[in-house]
Each structure stands twice: as C-alpha cells, then as structure tokens.
C-alpha cells in the first residue's frame, strides 16, 4: 500500500490505459457494452415494460448499496442492512395501517426507526470496541427476531393507496418513480461526502482512526453517525420495496434479511469503495448497482439464469475484487519503477 507516495500529476502521466484503472469510466463502458449486447440479443430488453421493471429493481439496489457504503467508509460493515430494512418497513406499515397515520408521516417514522436501529449498532460498536461484524451479526438476528415476534409474521397489506402508487408510477411509460428517489438520495450523499466538513471527517476517520483522533476528530461520533445513516438508507430501501410490492412483507429480504447481503456488498465493491475504509464512491456504487441489475435482467430475459443467477453474481463479485487487486498491485509496481 505505497500508493499514496506519488502526487496525482505524477501518477497520471504514465497512464495510457487510465480508463481501465478508473472505476467510473470502466463501469459506464461495461454497462453500455452489456446494454448494447442485450438490446440486440435479449428479446424484450428495450421494451418499455422491461425498462420500467428494471428501473424499479435498480433503484432499490442502489439504495441498498448506499446503506452498506456509508458503513464501509468507516472501515466497518453492517450485516443488519436487510434486517433493519425489513423491520423499519414493517414499522412503517404498522404506522400507516394500524395507527392510520398519513403515509408521509408513517414513512418518516420508518426512516427514523431505521436510524435508531442503525445508531444502536454504531453505539454498540464504539462502546464495546468489538468489530461491527459481530455486533451487526447479533443485531441482525435481534432486530429480525423482534420484528417477527411483534408482527407474528403477518404482512401489512392494506397500505394507503397514495403510498403504494409510488411503486407503480412510471414516467414516459418506462421510468419508474423509484429511480428519482434513488438518484436524489445519491445526490445528497454526494454533497455530504464531497463538500461538507462532516463528510471529510468521516473519510479521514475511516482512513486512519488514530491520526484522525489525534487531529481532533471525534472518531466515535462519526462511526455512530454512519451507522445511523446506514439505518435510514436501509429503511428507505425497505419502504421502496414495500411500495413496489404493495405490501409490507416480513419475508421480503429473506431469512434474517440475508438476501440483501450480496447486493449490498456488490454495488459498493464494484464501484471502488474499499473495505478497509476511508474511501468511497457514491457514483461508483450507483453504477455498480446499475451494472448488476442490467446483467441480472438480461440473463433472466435470455432464460439463462433462473436458478444459476446466484452463481453469476458470485462470480462477478469475485472477478471484481480480484481485478481490483490486480489493478492496485499493477499501480504499486509501476510507482515502484518510477521511484527506482
């Protein structure tokens, strides 16, 4: 990890294949390539209905990816993303259906609830000093178990029409109304991490907690904030999924919410967010989620992957991390040569 030794100008001089070492360009090219391929060979890929359903999946996967990304930047992780998403969505469903609250208020409560669950993860991590893996593994089980016990595994199906219509709305016949929500979320995160002092503090704390602490950043607070934000984003993804399904289902993220585990890591890792903390890419994460949903949709349309889909997604994740590794080794070697 000697990649910090050279200045950016020096590093950019010797890069004929720079676009390959940039995640964003690489992802855009890959998505464009795949989309072209599918529109030629997968019948129905460019149909309005397919674009609309693909957009719905994409929007939810983008937000799930964000929920993991904001914790990865601290150098931790959040296995409970799925459990929080479902628990918060069920809470929102309860507020709308059983309490009869306005859907907007119910949704806000659900987001706040997700934030509280996330903050508990953050506090437990900071206070015990135990890695967030174990904490969130435990709370994943606690949150999901409590949700099942409280709801008796019953769904909320009589949700306000004004809320469920969001999942069915399409603009111009092919743009799902969920997409603007995901993109707006991305814009907020982009501003937070690129232009605010808080965002810079979070990144500094993630890159080197001890140095950040010494330079006066309250590292513990940034970790709690990120976990809280992760909870809010997970709740948002849960609400979007609820709107799409037209009901809040306890099973919508699988057993203890583990169905969200793979998409939540795929998007940020494909987008160049490092698991060691300190760096993140909001645009990359969104593109990562878009790439995954394009690949998935195409494979399903070509009747290629009904049951083999998991295998493909696993191979993609493996290829992505290995490629990333090769790239960084290559970059380090080139820098070494320059130094020599």
């Amino acid at each position: 990890m000697t990649s910090h030794t050279t200045t950016p100008t020096e590093a950019s001089r010797f890069r004929p294949f720079a676009f390959l070492t940039s995640n964003i360009t690489g992802l855009v090219l890959l998505i464009a390539l795949l989309a072209t391929f599918y529109s030629m060979y997968a019948t129905g890929f460019t149909s309005k209905f397919n674009l609309y359903t693909m957009g719905r999946v994409m929007a939810i996967d983008i937000v799930i990816g964000f929920a993991m990304m904001v914790v990865l930047v601290t150098g931790g992780l959040n296995l409970a993303v799925g459990a929080i998403g479902v628990a918060a969505a069920m809470f929102g469903g309860w507020a709308m259906e059983s309490l009869g609250l306005h859907w907007g208020f119910g949704a806000l409560l659900a987001l706040a609830f997700g934030g509280v669950l996330g903050a508990i993860n953050g506090l437990a991590t900071v206070k015990t000093g135990v890695h967030s893996f174990v904490i969130t593994l435990a709370t994943m089980s606690v949150y999901f178990g409590a949700m099942i016990v409280l709801t008796e595994a019953e769904a909320f199906r009589a949700l306000p029409k004004d809320f469920t219509v969001i999942g069915k709305t399409r603009y111009y016949g092919f743009v799902s109304a969920l997409l603007p929500i995901a993109l707006a979320t991305g814009a907020i995160l982009l501003v937070l991490f690129r232009y605010t002092a808080l965002g810079r503090k979070i990144k500094a704390a993630g890159a080197n907690p001890r140095a950040a602490e010494l330079s006066g950043i309250a590292v513990g607070n940034t970790v709690v904030f990120c976990h809280c934000l992760s909870g809010v984003l997970a709740a948002l993804a849960g609400l979007m999924l609820t709107a799409r399904n037209g009901a809040a289902l306890p099973s919508m993220a699988g057993h203890v919410g583990q169905d969200w585990l793979l998409p939540s890591f795929l998007a940020p890792v494909l987008g160049g967010t490092l698991l060691t903390g300190g760096t993140l890419s909001v645009v990359g994460t969104a593109l990562g989620a878009i790439l995954v949903s394009v690949i998935t949709t195409g494979l399903l349309l070509m009747k290629f992957a009904d049951f083999w889909l998991n295998l493909f997604l696993g191979l993609i994740l493996l290829a992505a991390v290995l490629l990333d590794r090769v790239r960084s080794v290559y970059a380090a070697r080139r820098q070494q040569m320059q130094v020599d």
């Binding site: 174990v134 994943m140 606690v142 493996l318």
Partner: protein, 317 residues
C-alpha cells in the same frame, strides 16, 4: 495467564449448562424424557459440526460466510449423486467430502493469494456455491435417498442418536489437532500474528489453505448428516447456519481477531444454544424467540468478554 482465563471461560459455560438443565428438568419433567433427550442430542450433533467449521477459520483470524453454502451444496450433490447417478453410498460420501475439501481449498487459496479479506471472498463463494445448489436442484429437493442413509438418520441407542457418534469423534480429533499437533499450533500462531508466524518460518499459504480445507470438510459432513436427518436432499440445507456458526464459538470464548479458540468452549456454546431452543419448545414459547435470544446471547457474550478485558487491564495497570 491466557490459559487459565480460557479455563474459567468454559467452566462458567459448563455451570450455566448444568444449572439450566437442572432447572428445566425440575420445572418440566418432560425435559428428561427419552424422546426429548434424543431430540436434544440430535440438534447438538448437527450444530456442533457447523460451529467447529467456523471455529477453525476464526482461529486463523478470518471468517467463513460460506459454511452454510458449502454444507448445502454438498448435501444436494450427495443426495443427487445417489438418486440420479445411482452412486453407492460410500462413493457418494467420499464425493461429498471431496467437494467440501475443494470448496475449502478454493476459499483458502484465493484468500491467501489475493490478500483480499476472507469476508468478501467467502461472500462471493457463498453465492457461487448456493448458485450451483439452486442450478442443480432448481429449488426442488431430492427425495429418493437410499434406505441405509435414512436408517442411519433414524437409528438410536435409547436416547442416543447414531448421528451423534461421528461428531463426537470429530470433537475429540479436533481437540487433539488444535492442542497437540504442529498444524494446530501453526493455525493459532497465524491467527494471533500472521507476520510473526510468517517470519518464524510458517508457510501462511499452507496453514490458511489447510484451515479452510478442514472447515470445508466439516461443513460437508454436517451437510450429509443433515440429509440423513431430514431423509432428503433439501436445497434449503445450510440457509440458517450463519448465525449459529458464529454464536457458538463466540459464546465459547473465541477471540474473533484470531489466535484463541477453544473446542470445548465451542461445544459448550452449542450445548447452551441447544438447551435454550429446547427450553423455548418445552415452555411452549413462540419459536421465533430463538432468533431474538441468539442475537442477545452473542451481544452479551461479546460484552462480557469486553468487560473482563477492561477489568484485567485495570488490574494490571
């Protein structure tokens, strides 16, 4: 110092397990019925292999998310090779173990050669192994299991299921391996400090790969025993192994950064978890509470370890 601490760890657990059993037996005499003891031991025999499969990886300071996926893949290949290919049982068993070994080798080799965290690698292979499972079965179980396997799954000596014997033997073997053998000490050394271990001449590649192979084989055996237990090759096998695989070693005092695990502690962790699940059934509590309690149990075990650490540090300061 560390050794005595470990001993206290599992003595406490043993006390909890004994006190819990006595309380249950007093409150619900059905606890001591032959059938209930049989159910208890059956639950223990399958969970303990899952927990040990994870424990070996925790020992080297990594984690293996794919334990359940390996178990599930081996389970359906074991069942499928007998039903579809008509392989004799012993050959199918060998095939199952071989697949577990290969899966473990892949996890270990990629992790150590790429230097990427085992978390991501095993998350990817989890998906790959699960994908192979679903691709082969199309989510439909294999029902035509040979009678020998079915009989093994049902056979019992009084309250003792036959399925308990193999896991017990493995517990003994693994205890010897971890405490007495060279590779066991090397595994712990790598977990405690990979750099120091490497500098003192231990081959990281060899140790990490061997640990993952042990983990893969244990998951494979757990998968095949589950087939005997359920009397079918269910593609869902392994789906719910993740939590228990971490819960038992952690409750048993394993340090997740590596280098310190206890086979006995892990076994007692499984005993405590099995007792709690059983108690909820006997007390007619909603089984969904198991999930909640397991999570709280991990949290309290982690909190307790932390509390002990802090106190120890204060005492030495």
């Amino acid at each position: 110092m560390r050794r005595s601490l470990l001993n206290i760890d599992w003595l406490g657990l043993l006390a909890i397990a004994i006190a819990g059993s006595m309380a249950l037996a007093w409150y619900k005499p059905a606890f001591l019925s032959t059938h209930n003891l049989y159910v208890l031991m059956l639950g223990f025999s399958l969970s303990v292999l899952v927990a040990l499969s994870q424990m070996v990886i925790i020992a080297i300071g990594q984690m293996n998310l794919a334990v359940g996926a390996i178990g599930g893949m081996v389970a359906i290949i074991f069942a499928g090779s007998m039903e579809v290919l008509g392989l004799p049982v012993p050959v199918a068993v060998l095939l199952g173990i071989l697949i577990g070994v290969i899966a473990g080798f892949i996890n270990g080799y990629i992790t150590v050669k790429s230097g990427i965290s085992a978390f991501v690698i095993t998350l990817a292979t989890l998906s790959i192994f699960k994908g192979i499972n679903l691709g082969i079965t199309e989510a439909q179980p294999f029902y035509a299991i040979p009678d020998v396997v079915k009989q093994l799954g049902n056979a019992r000596l009084g309250p003792v299921p036959y399925l308990l014997f193999l896991p017990l033997a493995i517990v003994v073997l693994l205890t010897i391996l971890m405490t007495r053998s060279v590779i066991g000490k090397q595994i712990l050394a790598v977990g405690a400090n990979p750099n120091a271990a490497s500098l003192s001449g231990i081959s990281l590649t060899r140790v990490v790969v061997i640990a993952h192979i042990i983990s893969g084989s244990l998951a494979a055996i757990a998968g095949m025993l589950t087939v005997a237990r359920l009397q079918m090759g269910d593609p869902m096998i392994g789906n719910d192994w993740l939590l228990i695989s971490f819960a038992a070693p952690v409750i048993g005092g394993a340090v997740l950064t590596g280098g310190s695990v206890s086979v006995i502690g892990t076994c007692l962790g499984v005993v405590v978890i099995t007792l709690i699940s059983n108690a909820l059934v006997l007390l007619e509590v909603d089984p969904y509470y198991v999930q909640l309690l397991l999570g709280l149990l991990i949290l309290s075990a982690v909190g307790l370890n932390r509390y002990r650490e802090v106190r120890q540090r204060r005492a030495s300061a």
